[in-house]
């Protein structure tokens, strides 16, 4: 059974207009997406700003209201649960945020930051709590004395580790990582990414990895879903997406990754130009008459594309 199954998820926001501010239309932030996460895998949700990837991630953890659709976590629909019932499952799903600077409370020391979820969900004696926190701090590679320090005393990479330790405190099954390394320098990025891979093995974690950076997604993910304007454009394994992209938008995204071989830069520039040309010529193959993406169509066991 899949750990998480998202079924036709829609998140719409009303637009009000006219004299009486009536609802005249909806912003379809997420407009019918479906995907499944198998235990232990890393699933990448990729797209540019405004494509709905973050909204989807936040909906799964309960930070956004769902307009319609199912969020089946271990077979139970989170979207239909009440607040109290849902709370039981928040233990199993945790989130790592983009900005390690703003996602940690600056007035709390590391002990209090990491212990917070424990205090909310588990009754531990102060001694047990301290032990658990020490364990976690050691696991994320910080020194034992750092539990009495405050966030500003750490570097960006270390802060992200604190955020990860907090997410791990309740031994979750699923971690939603929303652009976890976008605010970090390349070499620090590498540290955090390696580390996320290590703890995935140790804790048997499943990741929903949300990012705009295709390089990182390719490196981290088993399967990938490409989002555009609130819908899925293409879904497949990492190698299917990178080596055999089908949808024009996917091709465009991949062509946009800067080429690390200076010799190929003009080749890459021409590739982009020809894709733009194709975009103009074959628009109708990829979008219906309302400019909406088609539904996903299966082209192999694991590879689907939104085409007619």
């Amino acid at each position: 059974m899949s750990l998480l199954k998202v079924n036709d998820l829609k998140i719409h926001y009303p637009i009000r207009g006219g004299f009486f501010r009536r609802v005249v239309d909806h912003v379809k932030a997420v407009d019918g997406i479906s995907f499944e996460l198998q235990p232990g895998e890393t699933y990448g949700l990729v797209g540019e700003s405004g494509c709905g990837k973050t909204t989807s991630g936040r909906a799964i953890i309960g930070l956004n209201n769902v307009t319609s659709g199912e969020l089946l976590f271990e077979g139970k629909d989170l979207a239909k649960m009440g607040r109290m019932e849902r709370r039981k499952h928040t233990k199993d799903i945790q989130m790592i945020f983009q900005d390690p600077y703003s996602s940690l409370n600056v007035r709390k020391n590391v002990l209090n930051i990491i212990a917070e979820p424990l205090r909310n969900f588990e009754r531990l004696s102060p001694k047990e709590e301290l032990l658990r926190v020490q364990e976690l701090v050691a696991r994320v590679g910080l020194s034992p004395e750092s539990i009495y320090k405050y966030p500003h005393q750490f570097s960006g990479g270390q802060r992200q580790r604190i955020g990860i330790a907090r997410a791990l405190a309740l031994k979750p099954k699923l971690i939603i990582a929303d652009e976890p390394v976008s605010a970090l320098d390349v070499s620090v990025q590498a540290q955090v990414l390696n580390f996320m891979q290590e703890i995935q093995e140790d804790f048997g974690l499943t990741y929903l990895f949300i990012s705009h950076d295709l390089g990182i997604i390719q490196h981290m993910c088993d399967r990938i879903g490409i989002m555009y304007r609130g819908r899925f454009v293409e879904e497949g394994t990492a190698s299917e997406i990178y080596n055999n992209p089908q949808h024009l938008y996917t091709k465009r995204l991949i062509a946009a990754i800067p080429e690390l071989d200076p010799e190929k830069r003009f080749e890459k520039m021409h590739l982009r130009q020809s894709i733009n040309q194709e975009y103009q010529n074959d628009y109708n193959n990829y979008f219906d008459k309302d400019g909406r993406m088609y539904d996903l169509k299966r082209i192999s066991e694991s590879h689907s594309v939104a085409m007619q």
């Binding site: 320098d185 390349v186 070499s187 540290q191 295709l214 390089g215 800067p258 690390l260």
Partner: protein, 341 residues
């Protein structure tokens, strides 16, 4: 050899921190030629932004000390009075900023903002200015230029605004163009568009471009020559092909190995030990990268690391590059675990 347009000589930019001055740019020498893109790469804290602000005169001089020379034509910009410097910046030396969302004045129309440098540097009538502005908008790939001319920044998307920022920089045909992370704040596909646009524009003019970035991908796509900075110093300088084919300095090699896009699949990325030292904690004697490659014996470093021309036109600081190796390559396994103190 092409004509040099900007020469930086032993530049030192120091910030006042609690009464003492610490150099963020520590003896940088660099020449930019016409029609050339020089990329300055490094991570946060390497001094690349301080370098850009020094060239553009954007430091707050109350707490910044500038030494050395930035020679443009036959004048040292650091010695020019502000009134004279203002005749140069915006005209001969222009800048493209990182974040198009904040780089434009929210209360002025796009047309006004592009025309503004012309007010001070070019003697043009109102209609000439407008025509020139519309022409610039077309050049940076904006199709409905008449409409955009009247619009305010908030009415444009990020990519469009960055095109406007570029148009402002190009408004008086600069000789030197300073681009500070011009694509960092943009979406991937927009980044690609802006990179291609800049390459195209560069082919049309003789402008020398200084491209400041942390993104080695952008460097590989755009630069002719690359300068790698670490802790305020240049550690490596080479033509772009040489640098990517044959990186020499341990820092450059480490950086290249930590980019995920350089790997297929789930291989471990290289991690640089330790952290970038803060200005106050930086040990300024000896090789500044030494603490982060502690497995390299001390005697492999120079006492006072100099730039060496290791290969023709390929410069590298310190001798440690000769014996440098990645520990994970020697062990063969992925046993190497990152530690951070």
């Amino acid at each position: 050899m092409k004509n040099p347009v900007l020469e930086i000589n032993d530049l030192r930019a120091s910030f006042n921190i609690k009464g003492n001055y610490y150099a963020a740019v520590d003896g940088v020498s660099l020449t930019v030629h016409e029609n050339e893109v020089v990329a300055i790469v490094g991570e946060s804290g390497c001094g690349k932004s301080a370098l850009a602000n020094s060239i553009m005169g954007l430091h707050n001089l109350k707490n910044t000390k500038l030494e050395g020379e930035i020679n443009f034509g036959n004048q040292n910009l650091l010695e020019l009075p502000l009134a004279k410097f203002n005749k140069i910046r915006g005209k001969d030396i222009a800048m493209i900023f990182q974040d198009p969302m904040t780089a434009l004045n929210p209360l002025a129309t796009i047309g006004r903002q592009i025309e503004e440098p012309m007010d001070y540097h070019l003697k043009l009538s109102a209609s000439e200015k407008k025509n020139r502005t519309l022409e610039l908008l077309r050049r940076v790939g904006i199709k409905n230029e008449q409409r955009v001319y009247e619009q305010y920044p908030h009415e444009l998307s990020g990519g469009m605004r960055q095109r406007v920022v570029i148009a402002i920089a190009l408004s008086c045909d600069p000789v030197v163009l300073l681009a500070d992370e011009p694509t960092t704040a943009l979406d991937v596909t927009i980044q690609a568009q802006i990179m291609d646009l800049m390459k195209e524009l560069q082919n049309q003019t003789k402008t020398g471009i200084i491209l400041i970035t942390h993104d080695l991908g952008v460097v590989a796509e755009m630069a002719d020559r690359v300068v790698v900075m670490y802790a305020g110093e240049i550690v490596e300088m080479a033509d772009v092909k040489d640098l990517f084919e044959n990186p020499l300095h341990p820092y450059t090699r480490s950086l290249l190995n930590s980019i995920p896009a350089n790997f297929e699949g789930k291989e471990k990325l290289h991690v640089i030990d330790g952290i970038v030292p803060s200005l106050q904690n930086l040990d300024r004697t000896g090789c500044r990268f030494a603490p982060r490659i502690a497995w390299i014996p001390e005697e492999d470093h120079e006492e006072r690391p100099e730039m060496h021309e290791a290969e023709p036109n390929h410069f590298v600081r310190c001798s440690c590059y000769k014996t440098f190796y990645f520990p994970e390559d020697r062990v063969g396994e992925n046993e190497y675990v990152a530690t951070e103190s």
